[in-house]
Symmetry: C2
Subunit: 651 residues, 2 copies
Amino acid sequence: MANAIRVLAMDAVEAAKSGHPGMPMGMADVATVLFTRFMTFDAATPRWHDRDRFVLSAGHGSMLIYALAHLLGYERMTIDQIKRFRQLHSLTPGHPEVDPSIGVEMTTGPLGQGISTAVGMALAERITNARFGDDLVNHFTYVIASDGDLMEGVSHEACSLAGHLQLGRLIVLWDDNRISIDGPTTLSFTDDTQARFRAYGWDVQAVDGHDPEAVAAAIEAARATHTPSLIACRTIIGKGAPNKANSHNAHGAPLGADEVAATRSVLGWPHEAFVVPDEVLAAWRAAGRRGADAVAAWTKRFEALDGHARKAFADAMDKAVPGALPELIDAFKRKVSAEKPSWATRVASGNVLDVLVPGIPELIGGSADLTPSNNTKAKNSADVQGRGSFAGRYVRYGVREHGMAATMNGMALHGGVIPYGGTFMQFADYCRPSIRLAALMKQRVVFVMTHDSIGLGEDGPTHQPVEHLAALRAIPNLLVMRPADAVETAECWQIALERRDAPSLLALTRQNVPTVRTEHRAENLSAKGAYVLAEADGERRVTLLSTGSEIGLAMEARATLQAEGIGTAVVSMPCWALFEAQTAAEQEAVLGTGVRVAVEAAVRLGWDRWIGPKGGFVGMTGFGESAPYQDLYRHFGITADAVVAAAKERL
Amino acid sequence: MANAIRVLAMDAVEAAKSGHPGMPMGMADVATVLFTRFMTFDAATPRWHDRDRFVLSAGHGSMLIYALAHLLGYERMTIDQIKRFRQLHSLTPGHPEVDPSIGVEMTTGPLGQGISTAVGMALAERITNARFGDDLVNHFTYVIASDGDLMEGVSHEACSLAGHLQLGRLIVLWDDNRISIDGPTTLSFTDDTQARFRAYGWDVQAVDGHDPEAVAAAIEAARATHTPSLIACRTIIGKGAPNKANSHNAHGAPLGADEVAATRSVLGWPHEAFVVPDEVLAAWRAAGRRGADAVAAWTKRFEALDGHARKAFADAMDKAVPGALPELIDAFKRKVSAEKPSWATRVASGNVLDVLVPGIPELIGGSADLTPSNNTKAKNSADVQGRGSFAGRYVRYGVREHGMAATMNGMALHGGVIPYGGTFMQFADYCRPSIRLAALMKQRVVFVMTHDSIGLGEDGPTHQPVEHLAALRAIPNLLVMRPADAVETAECWQIALERRDAPSLLALTRQNVPTVRTEHRAENLSAKGAYVLAEADGERRVTLLSTGSEIGLAMEARATLQAEGIGTAVVSMPCWALFEAQTAAEQEAVLGTGVRVAVEAAVRLGWDRWIGPKGGFVGMTGFGESAPYQDLYRHFGITADAVVAAAKERL
């Protein structure tokens, strides 16, 4: 059965003329043990909520998961798809792309992401188990990881967290083949990896990855522990290829026609390319249905629940928009538009969460050790303790921004929870590969990024984002939102939670800002991306475009211009991506046809699209400085006077 | 003497009304032992090349290093500067900013960066030692790191590398105070850190951080080992503050007037704020000169060298532009403009390096385990083996992109070497916090980023940068360069090495591109940022703007348009940042006044500045796909025909 994986992998890479045969051939034995003896799933019901999760962290070995999907009988993964490996619109792209219908639980390829995201799946499993009980949620998360995965810092962060939380349902099978692209791993790597994982609080075993009984015994033992488990599977990369096995030549390139033929002969596999004999296929197909009884039993238990419990579970797992959301947001907006507080938007966000968290049980918060700064912990919400106790609503991620982001992705992928987590916006850079992956995988994750400009003041340029808004706006399918006040903050939270197929990032101030949305509107104005916050008195000759904390400056500048008889509108642009989705006519109505000046305490990149070639921009041109924030705004010339001057110059 | 640090830290934070008193107060004893007994340096000759390096990785505890600088007698660090802590234009910003004249070897604050960058300093020390010998280069690198530093993934990567290379001159003093912002570190962190570092191949000791003799004995022992050393210094955060010590209340906020007074009383320090009694100051000032004899002896040895040796050392350490550079580049350009190869620009870069590395001994290359893909290893250059042998020119960084980038920053800061290192451009995201820090610190580091678009083909969207060019262009003081062919690639290397105060990032193709610079020009045309590569025949009505691999499409489109009698120029824009530095008139001359269409296989963000409101853009609008690259260009409509159509629409 394992040889079927080897041959399909080798043949597909050969046909595509690119790809990685070595890893699937090396891990074929381990994967066969895992899928024929342990994984509880049913290829005919691939989205069954209580299935064991499998993550191929070493995504370059994608043919392993595709071969498995075909052999196990996932309907869509036909042999034709295998033949179209790495071709446009196939189900078999170069690296696996999330699609549970073919057993691919997440997109992998960037090393370290898979294993780290799996930590989030295992955590979400325990959190949903704590809410819904063993009858509905009771499964394992398995990972195949490579040497490269374990060298990446993100895996260190996430595995340290997994050890801390004692995620006993997480089992990592490490493809300990000691070969990387440059050559033997000893060129650059001499960690005692087993000792390192023990230091994280994991249990660790080491086995011959080509000895099925040894692998099975290790998995059995790993399932019984209360800690996450690493099983070091000593394997030979490209096993079966007589001349290229155990060398980096088997890693990332086709074996070549001669070596393919020689491998067939070594493996005793006389069949043509892509042909799997019936009896082997039948054995695999039976393995693919080994969870069918479990699915049936689970379904019976599920259907025995009352309607309310069924709906609560289904809504959570199917990632519905929380029913309570619109009312909670509306009440909050009504209240703050009347009370007009001068809160920092991070404080506003904290106050929104105080309302949302009790009303929406799926919300699971956290922070990378900046809880009191990020305002991410709702009043009275308890910590997820781990170590057997997963009933809380708040995760202490530690100083592990990247690990946090990957973990949140895993939680979203698993379902049952809606993860949000905070750090300083400067450290969005630390999380960036995971933020990108959330966008690529279309996952509802909310990144709460506070201290979003020079407005954080004294902490200085290492902590002051200046390029981050532009850099984040560049990521496709990420909603970057920079609300101007408490009302917009609530609206942005609503957008983030309603958007089921995209992550959101909230850029929030450290410093206080005035409430500018002082008249209650039921409509979510921020959902248009940009809107006229204050129309001109008289003919509109100037439009001031701004976001977040600089909206206050724009409003001041408007008052000055209006006092001089110059009709001036202020447009708030909390989310460019949503505004880009509006029609050209809608955009033009908002932007106006007169003079445009933008003000944002960040670099100009991207603003030219909105201000046009003659427009003005008041913002940053380089890094910040350390000083009280009022001094910095003056020092960098980001003032209402500068906005007025830029407008008048252009009139 | 340690209390002088405590009191200055506490007073400065109090005056600034913000900052972190706890860490300096906790580590005052350790720092006192280090600086009065071990650090070899002379505050009166702060830039002495053979000084021991000290990195305060826990940059939030900046008052520790400022207090030290003042007490040790660095001339510029007056008590007035201490009083102006965290104020505009002071030498005492919220987090330390690189300035060797006050003993600040690097900018710290983003956790994990300091310790990781120190790895590069220690590596550069050994590499320059291998080149110049013990007489000139023979020093230690000391680090004070916090719990947070050790939780960050980047420190894991760099420390694993340091262990592999056996950087015995690296000694990390870990402030093991077990308090983080959220509370006790046990909230989120239960690693056995000592075991973890042993697993990296470090030697590890643990001491009471308030017992000077124990600390001294540990440092003494650490200096004698052949591996990097971690000394866990068990300390009490905010030590001396009777009510706030050992709690997160001492971490990141002023102690308050009452607690400051109480601390003075506990410490038996009756002096007013910012006053250090003469005898204490005198003892510190003496410590600040303890390396004066070493400097004198070193200077004698240096001056005894012949002129050639002196110049070679001084040029390397003073970060001169390599003298051999212009000639090497010119010869290369002459050759390839005549031969017109169809190389991928990554191949061109490799060929440039084959010329530069033998001619410029400062160049130290490397790759994060993508050597054969990044083409970063020059022919016949040997590996830096570590483990006692540092004579090579190439570092095997392993799958540690972030650690590589931080290490390169440290090498540049140390001096004596010019580091460059490669990975896939997609993984620029993994390095981003260190890339930013290189820009902020104005360090000459060259990031070689290959596989820079959908042009990498089958590896698919996880590996295809689409937003990365925009996101990197947003970083101030980073030269993002995307050369079009082998000639521009050589020019970009020249720019990168000539620019002493900024890092450069080369975006290079996987796929082949034609040579478009077929006529030799001695001038470095790329240095203008953008230039007319092909002027219109007849009146210029259309200007096509492009970079890198899409220049070929622009040239094809130009041919079509010219054939229809439409005068069309092609502008190559290898580096926006350099073009932005040109005058408006120069820019206009290049961009032309007619129709403009840009073509780049990346997102539009930022292009509006160059194409104007009526301009056309042919590029990406979302993530890529997995397929042969020719299929992808067609699929996404990035073709010469599309460029032609966009131009004609606008005529």
